[in-house]
Amino acid sequence: MRGFLTAKGIIGGGIVVIVLLTALFAPLLIPDTWATQMDMRARLSGPTLAHPLGTDQLGRDLMYRMLLGAQTSIMIAGTAVLMSLVIGLPLGVISGYFGGWIDNVLMRLVDTLLAFPALLLALTISAVLGPNLTNTIIAIGIAFTPYLARIIRGEALRVAQMPYVEAARAVGTPDTLMIIRHVLPNIMPPVIVQVTISLAFAILAEAGLSFLGLGTQPPDASWGLMIQASRDFLDVAPLTALVPGAAVAITVLGLNMFGDVLRDVLDPRTQ
């Protein structure tokens, strides 16, 4: 746990905690009408007393939209990554641990899917399913699955060849217990790190989909949608992009730092 007490750990962990708290509690503390309240006399305004971070093209308060958007963005990213983990973990572990034809078939499929750029895959799936929150999550989740499955498979393969697995086999440990006791705990550190990085990517992917009009639906706020809506006003009201952009940047930065620190903390060699 000492690893968290580095500058990187404190900043990264701090950001992640703050973002999570915002995502959890902002919607409870701030009435959601504050984020949709329009003020036609203060459109695209800079910071004022009434609107500390300015307003968007419909005169809505950017600060409240950013705070309330945290939940949407985090929820989409979190659920999507969770989904890809739920699919990718068994696939990767089975493939890497058992090897053989199962591995061949599964990894051939995964390799094929990997040839499709994630955003293209998400875009196509989103187009097939139609744009709404659930489908955005599914699209990102499916698009991310092959990446996670590949990494997990590699880790499972590595762990399956470790002497302690052979030692456990020598003492008669059956396959299911082997996976639960030996493989899963040992692949978890790299997987957790990958998950934090995937979260960062998922936030960006949601932004990308929203940018192309396939993500979150208005008037709900998500960071991606906010940036998307800002594209036509950037030169006159840069805050419309900078506010959600900074939120994405800080979160992604925090997640990446947190991931780096997790990598160090979870590595038994550094303990």
Partner: protein, 313 residues
């Protein structure tokens, strides 16, 4: 040659899988091409006639068969919405995308390798943190955000570079590069971050290897040790990661090309998706996946070429 033949065979198989996935996915896309062609002016009779003449009423197997045969014989059909022959159209757009993909890769590598080496050499010192944070910043913002910012800065306020459009390098190479520069930069900033991290970790593991100590013990200068001994070993892994990122780039160009009105594969794919131009979607998606796969094949072969340990039997 066995290695290459082996790889090519598996590539062919994967391409077949890709074509199947592409075809099936595009056929469950909702929406109607005939509809899009006619726009708001359509009416049932005209629609029915158009559908028939487009072959949309044939069974799926027949449509797949027609498509795959066409792909193999070089007849890629025509875009339903834009009426252009798909083959030449894609050939043109691939050039555009290749230009920005290659340029962004060069930009990203040119920044990432020195930065990554710098960080690795000064591992865990302030330089390392500075480099990592700089790199992280690139990846923390969506690339279209950078795109918009770059347009404002370089085109609008400084007026150094054109804000949009694509010029074919065969027509005017300098203009082509100038037009491709901003989109490439926008793509490269995100890419740079990955490659910096990768270079850093590869270099730091190489720098801790024994042969580096041997090189230092020979009395070689630090510059030789790092830029020749270490880098020669890092180039393979970094190249592999860079190759894998081509897939990521071909995803990002969908957004960036639309933003810069840079009419390459990404733009075309997006247009095709928007218009439910099924033959065009099939071909663009197929080509992108194929290009991504083949790039990785080429990178693997290049890796084998720079690393004497890998033999091509």
């Amino acid at each position: 040659m066995h290695y290459i033949a082996n790889r090519l065979l598996s590539v062919a198989f994967t391409l077949l899988l890709i074509s199947l996935i592409t075809f099936l996915v595009t056929n469950i896309l909702p929406g109607d091409v005939a509809m899009v062609i006619m726009g708001t002016q359509s009416n049932p009779e005209a629609l029915a006639g158009l559908r028939e003449s487009l072959g949309l009423n044939d069974p799926l197997i027949a449509q797949y068969g027609r498509w795959i045969t066409g792909i193999l014989t070089g007849d890629w059909g025509r875009s339903l919405v834009f009426k252009e022959a798909i083959g030449p159209l894609i050939a043109d757009k691939v050039v555009a995308s290749a230009l920005i993909v290659v340029m962004s890769m060069c930009i990203a590598l040119a920044a990432a390798i020195p930065l990554g080496i710098w960080a690795a050499v000064h591992r865990d010192k302030w330089q390392d943190n500075a480099a990592s944070t700089t790199a992280l910043f690139g990846v923390s913002l969506p690339d279209f955000f950078w795109g918009i910012m770059l347009i404002l800065l370089f085109a609008r306020y400084l007026g150094w570079l054109p804000s949009s459009g694509f010029v074919h390098p065969a027509d005017d190479f300098v203009a082509a590069v100038r037009h491709a520069f901003l989109p490439s930069l926008a793509l490269g900033l995100g890419l740079m971050a990955h490659l910096t991290r990768m270079t850093r970790s590869t270099m730091s593991s190489i720098l801790s290897q024994e042969f580096i100590r041997v090189a230092r013990a020979k009395g070689l200068t630090e510059r030789t040790v790092i830029w020749r001994y270490a880098l020669a070993n890092a180039i393979g892994p970094v190249m592999t990661v860079a190759g894998l990122q081509v897939g990521y780039l071909f995803g990002s160009i969908i957004v960036i090309e639309s933003l810069f009105n840079f009419t390459g594969m990404g733009w075309l794919t997006y247009q095709a998706l928007l218009n439910r131009d099924i033959p065009l979607i099939q071909s663009t998606v197929f080509v992108i996946a194929a290009v991504v796969m083949l790039t990785n094949l080429v990178v693997d072969l290049l890796y084998a070429a720079v690393d004497p340990r890998i033999k091509l039997p």
